[in-house]
């Protein structure tokens, strides 16, 4: 773990009209850690990840990636800077194959003359997609199947695999275990750990507190747009975490 945070927010505020979604939020996230981001509905979790991933621009404050201040004009800028986000509703194109989805927006062309004419290298994309997915712990069979043929759990696996495969610095997972069975949830947690071990910083947003306690190194609690607690996971139990989230006990 180096000293420079891979991702840093400094005094970030964001409001929609008169509603303050985020107030003076600062955090430092390092490579190789899983950070749990928890809070009640409306606590500002979504606003925070959307600010980090370039969907929103903060009103005040700044975002630094690897020590450099960055400014996102679109989600694409954040992706280019190595920050991958997996939103709650999986961002997959149902009618494209798994391989095509993995490479969506990053298509490979053939290296011959045909490539210059626009031919895509479907073969390489499919086999690379399979290899990379297996590297992050996901085996889904043939890459040629379309996403619409997959079950909910498999879709989520592909989406997570895509984020984990392309993220260079930070991977943001918004409720990745929602709608998943117990066994699949455990697999998702495994993929997160594997991503951390590869030196990524994982931001894990979830309402499922046992999952958060199990997998994270550090937990950040948001309430009404402010960070109210930022401490190592070992300092929390389900009860104390719940108390902090609701504000009934600190």
């Amino acid at each position: 773990m180096s000293d420079t945070p891979i991702l840093e927010l400094r005094h970030v505020s964001k409001s929609y009209g008169s509603v303050k979604a985020l107030t003076d939020v600062s955090l430092k996230a390092y490579a190789g850690e899983i950070i749990g981001l928890v809070g009640d509905n409306g606590a500002g979790k979504s606003s925070m990840i959307k600010t980090i991933s370039g969907v929103y621009t903060p009103d005040e404050g700044e975002i630094l990636v690897d020590g450099t201040p960055r400014h996102w004009r679109s989600p694409h800028d954040a992706i280019a800077a190595g920050i991958e986000t997996l939103y709650q509703d999986s961002g997959l194109a149902p009618d494209l194959t798994i391989g095509s989805n993995i490479f969506l927006g990053r298509e490979l062309r053939r290296r011959s003359l045909l490539g210059r004419l626009g031919f895509l290298d479907q073969r390489s994309m499919e086999s690379q997609a399979m290899q990379e997915l297996e590297k992050v712990g996901i085996s889904i069979g043939a890459a040629k199947r379309t996403v619409s043929e997959l079950s909910g759990g498999q879709r989520q696996a592909v989406a997570i695999g895509r984020a984990a495969m392309w993220a260079k610095h930070v991977i943001i997972l918004d409720e990745p275990t929602n709608h998943l069975g117990a066994r699949q949830s455990i697999e998702v947690l495994k993929v997160m750990k594997a991503a951390r071990d590869r030196g990524l910083c994982v931001l894990f947003i979830s309402h499922t507190l046992p999952h958060v306690l199990e997998v994270t190194d550090r937990i950040i609690v948001l309430r009404l747009g402010r960070i109210v607690r930022d401490a190592p996971t070992s300092e929390f139990t389900v009860e104390s975490l719940l108390g902090t989230i609701t504000g009934l006990s600190q």
Binding site: Y87, E126, S151, Q156
Partner: protein, 409 residues
């Protein structure tokens, strides 16, 4: 690692599973082809003329307009959009080409053709721009656009040549439909298509196998090539027969290779390039495409423009087939055939699913219905009814496919 990973392939009864898979996935062209074969058999039983050389040639040229219109609308439907002005845009394109190749203006045909096509693309560009920029439903924008173009076209048609409409006087424009390849070139074309399609099929299989990916079973490849060859040779023979009543006529009509080339090019764009990949991505999940960095709005406008261009080409075929256009011979409902052809061909109304080849088959089915019903002396009203029933059946297949897909989530 692989044993301990995310996967939940359910073990179900294989028959039930494959049936479900057939419904859920893009089951390809099997239902469309089956419908086409059934229609052909029915009409051949009812009328012995149906499969005769003259009628087949007639059928192909009739189909050209429907097929091109269905292909045009496919560009829009793939993105979950629709362009209702395509019918009048195509009529307008044909009209412009007809007017400016007329002796009165005497433009060389390429210029007049380009003018017609440009006009159709421009109309589509405006519709696309309004749809994307102001986030209005394309249905409404193009409904308005359709009325505007209809007015302009009818005004123009009534104005030129003292209300007599535009006759086709240019040889090239007339020969789009009426002209034929010489018998030798017809066979060259047939053989080239058979060899080309077979080579692509085989080559794809070899590449996949050498990459260690799952590949299509050998018997499927062989069957596909056999069917292509059989149909090709059959049509080759049909077209080499003299089908003229007074003067000898034989060979493949020019419209056929033109449509073929266009289908090949569009299929390549959709299936093999980033461009096509983005089209499917946007149609299936525009938000996901946007997040992946696809310039969604720009691609939407491209789809409109390609629809306009293709409709323009359909318009050239239309005026060529009719021998001219007058305001009384315009058909306000051809755009509905465009939508119907695409949907019958398995292009989803909800975006993201469908192939150009499907649109071709859908267009051919429309032509077969029209042609066959005319032969058994059930034209007019019966044609509307049968087309309507086939269309509803196609939409039901689409919706049921979608639904079982959603249930599978």
């Amino acid at each position: 690692m692989t044993t301990d990973t995310i996967s939940d392939v359910p073990a179900k009864a294989p028959l039930l599973d494959s049936l479900r898979k057939l419904l859920r996935q893009d089951s390809g062209l099997v239902p469309v082809l089956a419908a086409l074969v059934l229609l052909v058999i029915y009409f051949e039983i009812r009328s012995s003329v149906f499969l005769q050389a003259a009628n087949i040639a007639n059928l192909f040229t009739q189909a050209a307009v429907y097929v091109l219109l269905a292909m045009a609308e496919t560009w829009l439907l793939l993105l979950g959009e629709i362009d209702l002005s395509l019918g009048w845009a195509s009529t307008g394109a044909g009209m412009l080409a007809g007017i400016y190749t007329n002796v009165q203006y005497g433009w060389p045909w390429p210029l007049a053709f380009i003018l017609g096509l440009l006009a159709a693309v421009l109309v589509a560009l405006v519709s696309g721009f309004l749809t994307v920029k102001f986030r209005v439903a394309s249905f409404i924008v193009t409904l308005g656009m359709q009325l505007v173009i209809q007015g302009l076209v009818i005004y123009e048609l009534d104005k030129v040549f003292q209300g007599g409409g535009v006759p086709v006087q240019d040889a090239v424009l007339r020969n789009l439909i009426a002209g034929d390849l010489t018998p030798v070139w017809s066979w060259v074309f047939v053989v080239a298509v058979i060899v080309g399609l077979s080579a692509i099929t085989v080559w794809k299989g070899i590449r996949r196998r050498s990459a260690g990916l799952e590949s299509v079973a050998f018997w499927k490849v062989a069957l596909r090539i056999a069917v292509i060859a059989l149909v090709g040779v059959f049509l080759g023979f049909i077209f080499s027969v003299n089908r003229g009543s007074f003067v000898p006529v034989s060979g493949i009509p020019f419209a056929v290779p033109i449509v073929f080339l266009l289908v090949g090019f569009y299929s390549f764009l959709l299936g093999r390039t980033k461009f096509g990949r983005y089209m499917y991505a946007i149609g299936g999940n525009a938000e996901a495409a946007r997040r992946a960095g696809v310039p969604v709005d720009r691609y939407r406008i491209y789809a409109f423009m390609l629809g306009g261009l293709t409709a323009g080409i359909a318009g050239l075929m239309l005026i060529s087939q009719l021998g001219g256009i007058a305001s009384s011979s315009t058909d306000p409902s051809i755009v509905l055939y465009a939508v119907a052809g695409a949907v019958i061909g398995g292009v989803s109304l909800f975006g993201g699913r469908g192939r150009m080849v499907g649109a071709v088959l859908g267009g051919v089915i429309l032509a077969v219905i029209k042609n066959g019903l005319t032969l058994i002396q059930l034209s007019g009203p019966a044609q509307y009814i049968v087309t309507g029933v086939v269309l509803i059946a196609a939409v039901l297949v689409d919706v049921l496919g979608r639904r079982s897909q959603q249930l599978a989530k």
